[in-house]
């Protein structure tokens, strides 16, 4: 199985929060090889039960979110420019003069407007999303024919290889997590496990972990492993605040997580010589684990995060070895429970 190829397909497909169905169909198709998978048109979530599901075995949920950050059309001006609002925490510092795709009745190319220097004396401030327009090169009348309010807008950027086994793309947050889960299932193919493995590729994480909340309720798991991305050190940053690219999965320890599961993960990583890092958080985790931990009567949860640079930009960077080691850790974990 070629992780880069899977990751390339997953990242190139549009799935801004609340509009994930296209990527859900793709992901369900990939998961179908390992069990029973379905894409839910209503919620955008992908539900999966691994082959060999038996009624009385405990259920381990593997979660990664399927949505990506983007924008949403809120208004069309008389001269055909689009106003937008953020859909997830897009890094506004990348916006000016970006090429975007408007996912309207047909896909349209647009450019984020940028005020030229003769009118803009101060380039030290990042723009607010509400201050930009999308230039789609159409009259107001044509724009209204092709674009509806509520259409999603995203910055496309296909997967490209960097040096050092690293890759860059949009939406590596959290398609990398999805790829790690798929790769873990691939490693365990045809193996008998003591647990049922459920996968949830959850929608709407970037706007408040909503897909995870309803998806995990439906699955009703006994424990959960949440696979997301977390901060890798960039130039000039302190190692106290970040992981390292290439350092292996970042195992979460936090008051909101199951300490037992965190310790299991650390032990399994050590026993199997899987490189890992710890990520200690003082309260909640900012991931789906926050929502999944408190569904129904409560679910023990742990985070396993893939280190990533430049989060929430179209130029996110991860190292393939971290995805592989994350998959390895998840597979070993599932074999040990």
């Amino acid at each position: 199985m070629d992780i880069k190829e899977i990751l390339s397909h997953l990242t190139e497909t549009a799935g801004v929060s609340g509009d994930e169905y296209a990527v859900s169909v793709l992901a369900a198709d990939i998961l179908g090889e390992y069990g029973e998978a379905s894409a839910d048109r209503n919620t955008g979530c992908v539900y999966f039960k691994r082959s060999g599901w038996e009624k009385d075995k405990p259920v381990v949920l593997l979660d990664a979110h399927i949505d990506e950050i983007g924008m949403i059309v809120t208004y069309i001006t008389d001269d055909g420019f689009l106003k937008v609002s953020g859909c997830g925490g897009l890094d506004n510092r990348v916006l000016l003069a970006q090429q975007v795709t408007v996912c309207g009745r047909e896909k349209l190319i647009g450019i984020v407007t940028s005020t030229p220097p003769h009118l803009e004396k101060d380039s030290s401030m990042a723009p607010e999303t509400e201050d930009i327009y999308i230039d789609i090169g159409l009259s107001g009348e044509r724009a209204r024919e092709l674009v509806d309010l509520g259409d999603r807008v995203l910055i496309e950027n296909c997967l490209a290889e960097l040096q050092g086994g690293r890759v860059t793309s949009k939406a590596l947050d959290d398609r990398s997590g999805m790829a790690a889960i798929i790769f873990a299932l691939d490693k365990l193919k045809d193996k008998k496990l003591a647990v049922n493995v459920a996968v949830l590729f959850s929608s709407q994480e970037e706007i408040g972990e909503r897909g995870a909340q309803i998806g995990a309720y439906s699955i009703d798991p006994d424990m959960a492993v949440v696979v997301d991305v977390s901060f890798a050190k960039t130039h000039g940053e302190s190692p106290e605040n970040c992981g390292e690219l290439g350092g292996g999965p970042m195992i979460g320890i936090a008051p909101s997580l199951s300490r037992r599961l965190s310790e299991d993960m650390l032990r399994i990583a050590r026993e199997n010589h899987i490189p890992y890092q710890t990520e200690v958080m003082g309260g909640k985790t900012g991931t789906n684990a926050d929502a999944i931990g408190i569904i129904r009567g409560g679910v023990p949860a742990v985070t396993v995060s893939i280190p990533e640079r430049y989060m929430h930009t179209p130029a996110e960077v991860v190292e393939i070895s971290d995805i592989e080691n994350t998959a390895e850790l998840i597979a070993e974990f599932l074999e040990s429970v």
Binding site: R93, R142, H235, E237, H312
Partner: protein, 339 residues
């Protein structure tokens, strides 16, 4: 012409590193012109027309584009940058780039927005806080691929969108190069000097030397100029508009243009039914600034294409303006030669 513009825009030619563009242009016109490459790398081409020109006329466009240059390789393998030409740092952060002779793919990054203070999140990222990240894990690794002084260029596709618009990097000033190549292809009425010059974006340097060498009576500069015809900008602040035809300036930050040529351009446009506009602000500047004060002075006119988001990886022009700029330039060149 639009296909040639695409080929030209996708070539990389940061100021001082215009080799790819120069080679392309030479290969295109080598059978149609007497070509000289000067000490700075300007291409100076004498093109024969059907008739001898009454005046020595120089028509000029610049080959270089804005970008960045590697100034230092950090210990962690990331690269420090300096802008080459006037770039708003806000159009650089988060972009994909290629670096150096080996075309190493990289991204321009910095601290993740989540890890900044509330105050810093609102600010743009200045050049000294950005790095190019080509994936290398150490200085030693990076040194195998890149060196200080390497060019850093935007990766930006050439795309058509909307109602006859195109977007790419480097449209400033490959549009000028495209117009001039087509003029040569279609044959001239009068002999003329075609100069494809270097280092415009860092101070009109190539044009100064090319104009000295050619020693023209008249000069036409073919350029791209800022259009601000976007929402919340009105009246004179728009400067010029896409779809309004080529732009003839009376004055910009470097040049007061020759009054007779200015009038001649409008008269020529009107007489031939070509849409044409002027700039409603004294803004911007181009190689005319160096050419019109060359030696004892050169009578100079600029024909510019209105361009949104100039000096970004997403320059936008309208195809109809390109066509009209070509037609106007063709007439204007003939009339200037025959004055």
């Amino acid at each position: 012409m639009i296909n040639e513009l695409k080929d030209l825009c996708l070539l990389d030619g940061i100021s001082g590193d215009e080799g790819q563009v120069r080679e392309y242009i030479i290969s295109r016109i080598k059978d149609k012109a007497e070509i000289k490459v000067d000490a700075l790398g300007n291409v100076i081409a004498f093109v024969k027309g059907k008739n001898r020109s009454k005046n020595r006329v120089m028509i000029s466009a610049h080959m270089d584009e804005v970008g960045m240059i590697v100034t230092y390789i950090n210990e962690d393998g990331t690269l420090k940058l300096s802008p080459v030409g006037g770039i708003d740092p806000r159009v650089v952060f988060g972009r994909r780039v290629t670096v150096g002779k080996n075309n190493a793919v990289g991204v321009i990054g910095g601290t993740a927005v989540h890890n900044l203070s509330a105050e810093d999140r609102k600010k743009s990222v200045p050049f000294d806080k950005m790095t190019a990240d080509i994936g290398c894990k150490s200085r030693e690794d990076a040194q195998k691929l890149v060196s200080p002084g390497d060019s850093v260029r935007f990766v930006s596709d050439f795309v058509s969108f909307g109602d006859g618009y195109v977007k790419c990097k480097a449209i400033d000033d490959r549009v000028g190069c495209a117009v001039m190549l087509r003029l040569i292809d279609e044959g001239l009425e009068y002999d003329a000097y075609f100069t494809f010059v270097v280092q415009e974006e860092i101070g009109l340097r190539g044009a100064k030397c090319a104009a000295y060498t050619v020693d023209p009576d008249y000069a036409l500069v073919i350029e791209a100029t800022t259009a601000a015809d976007i929402p919340e900008v009105s009246g004179d602040s728009k400067v010029c508009v896409l779809g309004g035809g080529p732009v003839i300036s009376f004055m910009d930050r470097h040049t007061v243009y020759d009054k007779e040529l200015y009038a001649l351009a409008f008269e020529t446009a009107k007489g031939n039914g070509i849409p044409c506009q002027t700039k409603t602000r004294v803004a911007g500047g181009n190689d005319a600034g160096a050419i019109h004060v060359s030696r004892g002075g050169v009578r100079t006119c600029a024909v510019s294409l209105p361009c949104r988001y100039l000096h970004s990886p997403s320059c936008v022009i309208r195809e109809s303006d390109l066509e009209n700029a070509y037609i106007l330039t063709r007439f204007l060149l003939d009339r200037t030669c025959n004055r």
